[in-house]
């Protein structure tokens, strides 16, 4: 069972930070939103719901969420960041269609394992990794 709010609380406490209404709203939105989201999108979604949160706070909160390991920041080649929740989700990577923008997720245990080997060999302590494959999806070839 994964409890994002509790995880976040634990993180905030450890840094002597507070769980505010704004932070909770961002966390919930990110967590219950399927897929990858952008800061801009988040601003609008929250605005359309009851809870308005300023752009600045959204960015500040996303950084906290990344730090706490609840969310990861990904680059889908759009010129701005995307975020996706990872807590309770298996790590996955992306195939990004350069034409229609579609993102296909995939998981490959073998790739993960090979990456671990590489890190060990270089005595590199992995924090996160990303495998992005750019090209054309089957509908756009």
């Amino acid at each position: 069972m994964v409890r994002p709010v509790e995880t976040f609380l634990k993180y905030l406490d450890s840094k002597h930070l507070k769980l505010t209404r704004e932070r909770k709203a961002v966390l919930e939105e990110v967590f219950f939103h399927p897929g990858h989201l952008e800061a801009e999108e988040l601003t609008h979604t929250l605005r359309s719901k009851k809870s308005r949160v300023s752009r600045a706070t959204i960015y500040r909160t996303l950084e906290l969420l990344v730090d706490s390991g609840i969310v990861r920041k990904i680059d889908l080649g759009h010129g701005h960041s995307h975020y996706e929740h990872i807590l309770g989700h298996t790590h996955h990577d992306h195939l990004v269609c350069l034409k229609c923008g579609k993102v296909i997720e995939f998981t490959d245990k073998k790739i993960e394992r090979l990456q671990t080997n590489i890190c060990q060999k270089s005595r590199f302590q992995e924090i996160s990794h990303t495998v992005q494959i750019f090209g054309y999806c089957k509908d756009c070839r």
Copy 2:
């Protein structure tokens, strides 16, 4: 034998574009520069040499170089793009140290092969891919 200028010429011709002094200067600099470079850096290097090329032209040319397959644009998590020449170089991926910024390159045939499989399975035509592993290098753990 790899001839970047000829490759670029062929590409330019196919698009009815011209090989100008500026484009040639950027191409040469990128090609003979080992490692990853930034647009800003390129501007300075060229300026310090004989050939001044404006920032705008540098960005425009880098895009052409990427399009023509001579160079690839990579994200090393610095908030701006890096570029590296790929023509005549084996594809490689990166371990990026979040503390000192060091970038360790690695190549893994098995990972490459697995990626190809994944693309075939999804009928995805790969154009480029990137495996970036973020963490702490052995000097920063």
